[in-house]
Symmetry: C2
Subunit: 150 residues, 2 copies
DNA sequence: CCCATGAACATTGCTTGCTATGTAGTGTAG
DNA sequence: CTACACTACATAGCAAGCAATGTTCATGGG
């Protein structure tokens, strides 16, 4: 008979992938009315914390590859969420600024983010959520290649 | 001064997204030598468990939208991992079968998957990993829309 | 039998992620 | 000052996810 073990169903990597997709789906439906897409969300949160960053700074804060950030920023510019100004001291880089419209929807977006996080952990205790965040952080460290190899 | 709270850095959704990406990156580099891409991995594991499924069956087992599965299966066919045969009783559907080549690399792929999962949880106790999987499962349930709304 | 409904899969078009590569500006060694 | 290396960003090309839509086949009601 040789039944196959259901490796996939208990594979941590698969479960994490699945979870990330349901998170993204929830975010997508809730922020769509504001004209914001899931991939723009981390970049926006980053700019809410601090405005006028260069692309390289945003990449390192959001942990996204540079071409991805370039693409995302262009769409955000297209969608009226950010503008970019050249840096006088360095002709290569430019700073990204939130538009008034982005500032207007900031509170709503942050509220939505918090709401999704909250509904995700419904039924888990404070301690369990704490342990979860710790475990995630440990796993990210474990799987992130050392500085040299990137 | 009005310092912004670093919401992003502690946002569960963002951390999960980040974790999923480092998982995917690790998988990508390790399975690339076998000519397999990350998105094909869940589909392959699914077929390792049971061969000859229809596309719809694979969608529901892997929890992937149907157009995504269609696209992935076409690439897997192109890459010599699967073949498809029509279902005589139903002219609409076809069954997907692993090629000999896919069977040959099965053990290596499963080993790689287990290895990545193991290295991810390095430093966590058995109990912590158990709690983690439980929490992930709870969150997926919490965030998955009810049957009707899909 | 015929038609309507629904199911299975394909297609289109978008976003978001990646790697690899190109281009232009900075800065430094000689 | 010039050449070289490095940095910042852009571009190309691909994979993989989604929603929306089209097409073909199956099936049940009348």
């Amino acid at each position: 008979m040789s039944e196959k073990l259901p490796f996939r169903r208990v594979s941590l990597g698969y479960q994490v992938n699945h979870l990330a997709r349901v998170f993204e789906a929830a975010l997508r439906t809730q922020i769509a009315p504001f004209g914001v897409a899931p991939g723009q969300f981390p970049a926006l949160l980053c700019l809410f914390e601090e405005d006028g960053l260069t692309q390289a700074e945003m990449c390192s804060r959001v942990q996204i590859a540079q071409p991805t950030m370039a693409h995302t920023l262009r769409r955000m510019e297209r969608d009226g969420l950010v503008t970019r100004t050249p840096v006088p001291e360095d002709g290569r880089s430019s700073r990204t600024w939130l538009t008034d419209h982005a500032r207007e929807i900031e509170d709503d977006l942050v509220r939505i983010g918090r709401g999704i996080n909250a509904s995700a952990v419904t039924g888990l205790s404070e301690a369990e959520v704490e342990a979860l965040l710790t475990s995630i952080s440990v796993m990210i460290d474990n799987l992130t290649p050392p500085e040299g190899a990137r």
